[in-house]
Symmetry: C2
Subunit: 537 residues, 2 copies
């Protein structure tokens, strides 16, 4: 035992300090977790949260989105900007405006299993929090649902309570429109660079070609035109799949279900459990199928859980996902990057921790892509461009695990991106994207996700390598032809001496034949199988 | 305008899905944010959260900690472990046990500005959440505050409400003791490796040498002995410093203060504002010093905020910090790593975003450290070892920015760790450690922090380089001596011929002189200034 024990403070004394922390206070102190760790990124994060919401709202209401983004320096104050985002979405009913913008962890997407941009109920209220923290000012919200009434609110978040604090409220009647406008004053620094707001909007236009986005920045005005007319298919909300449900969730579902029997519970509260699967599960678990779910507790939950794992079930339904599809990705990349060749691959859906997801990749090559630099990687999650933290992202990790040399591309070292006129596009669509932080900048490294991205890239790589190889051969052939052309005088001279014919005639004939492709300069070709074989080694 | 607009869903329809998300639900779905992203790490995270709490509680109550950790496989279930942690701390009063363990965002440390291991009020309740999610079972808590009553509770978290759900409760009377015991059954995988539980405990013992930790693992029992007798100084809670307060916080402080006048508010609610500084701030802001803080709102908050920035103030007080100090670090490293040389540096405190912090580093060299490998980096935050996500951590980043070659060490490339028998230790002590996620594994890259770590490492590097250079010289000298020794027969033969003396006598005299160090094999020495100069280039 130690020989010196100081005065012991009592547990009672210590207990006085223990109290609840509101989630607003938590993120106020930890604002870097929401993407507000520096002034440059903060501006982008505010814009991104608002645009994500606008796109989600428009799609859910089946409205083709028109979005206006404005970023202007505030008067007289250094490093302060006024940002506004306006959409033509369905608007928000007056009763919910306060909580959507003024309460963290409030939203419509968290409890649903369907693909959407927002999922946490933190994004836009986090921006309101950042605005009030750094400018001391309320956010100005304007909303109309198309009923001729326009609601204006100035609001802040009461961080102790995590509840909206409405400072001003008014209704104007007359104008019929629907949509939302948000205006915030925030601390920030505006820098044009690779991760800037215009670049984010350009990539957003690439992955959401049915949206029109008008950007009014501090120094420029850009219009991103709509390049597709139709909205993507509506993803449908699904029920959880039994194989993806953790035992603690199963226990809670048993307690809160409306079903009266275990069989009813299994068939109605889950996807992919029919009558016979339910019976099979109940048989394996050795339960009575009419037992009430509410009476299953303690070790019985474990028994049921283990039985579920043992019964084979169809994979989850996939209409909860809305990938971009190969055609749209190819069109988007051609429009934005103007390469000479694009290949896009949409993989069949897979599942991680019970959550369906789908990977799409594309490789763009040549054309107006810069020739002497390292490939550019574009990462997307549920159609949202990911601009930061590539080093921490499963999508980037998978890209770095590809041996690009196998596909005829140059690569400085084995974990490096390829060099040359190449752009790499990776998109994950999922009902629940596992972000590494609340700032939604990088994807957590689930092995299932990394594997799918690699398979997709390998398939795209094989296709690209055929193109690149053909191009190389064509280039080599062209070079041989031009070399042959140079020697036509010597060749025809020699032929003239041998045959006695006129050397000028021979020369012009040879030239004609070359032009018409009648002299073929052959070369061995590395076949597809060859590339395939290398990969499998 | 697009030519196809589908049926518009009304805002009313959409509003039905909007609802509150409890913070427990949020982290249940996002458990990777708390460090539960894989089975191996999950076991460590559970142990770490409980041990952190035990150490914090003991120190606050001035009790020299005795901690017992047990990790045993659960019966009959694969990948399932029973973990228990027991301490001799002050215990928790019965009324608070439920919320400390069964409510996320509840605690005593969040609202205080003083150095502690926990700060978020998420750690241990996050572990309870993980346990119930993956085993479906409650956590078993035992607590006594020394009053002869021992309370037992089986509890879970009601994730919809984020409130404790107490399944069983009992009191036993008679035994007088104080402390807490937690037992949880969790999904996990036990692997002995660099980031394992014993390694975490070994590093914890290194940075908390006044604690005794007994580990009872699946395959081994280890006792980490107490190597220091006294607890570190108690850090004191401080008030916020005006220069670190953001405008939104200032606004809230004005609204909630008990002070009646602005002058009173400034002098009592902040640190480092005396009467004259308060008067100066009020003069610059052009306010009346008797104005009530509650009447300052809107643009006036901005005026006050700007005035505060313009007035010079002393830096925040530093007794809120409790660094390890150089002596303790050196002792700890010598004990654990058995090197031949250690240098430790504790930097003077600095401030980021108003939060005082202090950096300490150490370099251990030679001895039992492995010779042919890359240096090991040990990272600590408020005495807690950081085992994961080094790639994302400001401490590791700063280490990689040092040019170790300048200090006489080998280094494969410029951003690499040095190679050779070296261990690098870095500790950040702060009232608010800016972790990159709730799992508290890596430090966010604030420039102030990176700068301080680099300065400390450079200072340590200079000291180490003197030692390493001396050792090199000594090594070279020894080699020359041994070479000289080899040639003694030839030399004495030659001298004998020249002088006519007996060659055996000459040889034995030469040998004697060498042994007594009278023949000095000289070498030019690279001076301290030389190293210093290189660094400044």
């Amino acid at each position: 035992m130690p020989d010196k024990v100081e005065k012991v403070k009592s547990a009672e004394e210590l207990s006085r300090d223990q109290r609840e922390i509101s989630v607003s206070e938590f993120f106020e102190k930890n604002r870097h977790l929401l993407g507000y760790d520096n002034k440059v990124k903060a501006l982008l994060t505010v814009v991104r949260e608002a645009v994500d919401n606008s796109l989600d709202a428009c799609e859910t209401a089946r409205i083709v989105p028109d979005i206006k983004v404005s970023v202007k320096p505030a008067k007289d104050i250094k490093d302060r900007y006024v940002i506004s985002i306006e959409d033509n979405g369905p608007g928000i009913v007056k009763e919910n405006v306060g909580r959507v913008f003024g309460k963290l962890l409030f939203g419509s997407k968290f409890h649903k299993l369907l693909q959407s941009r927002g999922q946490q109920g933190i994004g836009i209220s986090g921006a309101v929090l950042y605005a009030q923290l750094t400018s001391g000012k309320p956010s100005k919200i304007t909303s109309s649902t198309g009923d001729g009434k326009t609601h204006h609110m100035d609001l802040m978040i009461d961080t102790f309570k995590n509840e909206p604090e409405i400072l001003k409220e008014e209704v104007k009647e007359g104008k019929v429109w629907h949509g939302i406008r948000v205006e915030m004053e925030v601390e920030g620094k505006y820098v044009e660079h690779q991760q800037s707001i215009p670049e984010y909007l350009r990539q957003t236009a690439m992955s959401n070609p049915y949206a029109e986005i008008i950007y009014d920045g501090p120094d420029e005005k850009i219009k991103f035109e709509r390049s597709a007319k139709n909205l993507p298919q509506v993803p449908k909300s699904i029920k959880p799949h039994p194989h993806g449900v953790e035992i603690g969730i199963l226990r809670r579902m048993l307690k809160t279900t409306d079903a009266r029997t275990l069989a009813g519970f299994l068939t109605t509260d889950f996807s992919r459990v029919g009558q016979s699967s339910a019976k099979e599960i109940i048989r394996v678990a050795k339960f009575d199928e009419n037992v009430s779910p509410k009476n299953i507790d303690g070790p019985q939950v474990e028994k049921l859980f283990q039985a579920i794992q043992q019964v084979q079930l169809i994979k989850p339904p996939l209409d909860c996902l809305s990938p971009l599809r190969e055609k749209l990705i190819e069109e988007g990349l051609k429009e934005q990057l103007r390469p000479e060749y694009v290949v896009a691959i949409t993989r069949p859906p897979d599942v991680y921790r019970g959550n369906p997801f789908e990977i799409e990749v594309a490789l763009a090559y040549g054309g107006e892509l810069p020739h002497e630099s390292i490939a550019t990687l574009y990462r997307f999650a549920n159609r949202v461009p990911l601009m930061y933290q590539a080093g921490d992202c499963a999508l980037a990790k998978a890209v770095s695990e590809i041996e690009w040399r196998r596909y005829g591309l140059d690569q400085a070292s084995s974990a490096a991106l390829p060099t040359g006129p190449i752009a790499i596009f990776v998109h994950i669509a999922s009902v629940w994207v596992p972000f590494t932080s609340e700032s939604k900048e990088a994807i957590a490294s689930y092995p299932e996700i990394i594997k799918e991205v690699k398979l997709a890239l390998q398939e795209a790589g094989r296709k690209l390598s055929i193109y690149v190889n053909k191009k190389k051969k064509a280039g080599e052939a062209a070079m041989r032809i031009s070399l042959f052309e140079k020697y036509i005088p010597e060749v025809s001279d020699a032929l003239a001496r041998l045959s006695g014919a006129d050397k000028h005639k021979i020369a012009s004939k040879l030239e004609n034949m070359l032009k018409k492709g009648k002299i073929v300069i052959e070369d061995t070709e590395e076949s597809k199988e060859d590339v395939k074989q290398k990969e499998d080694e």
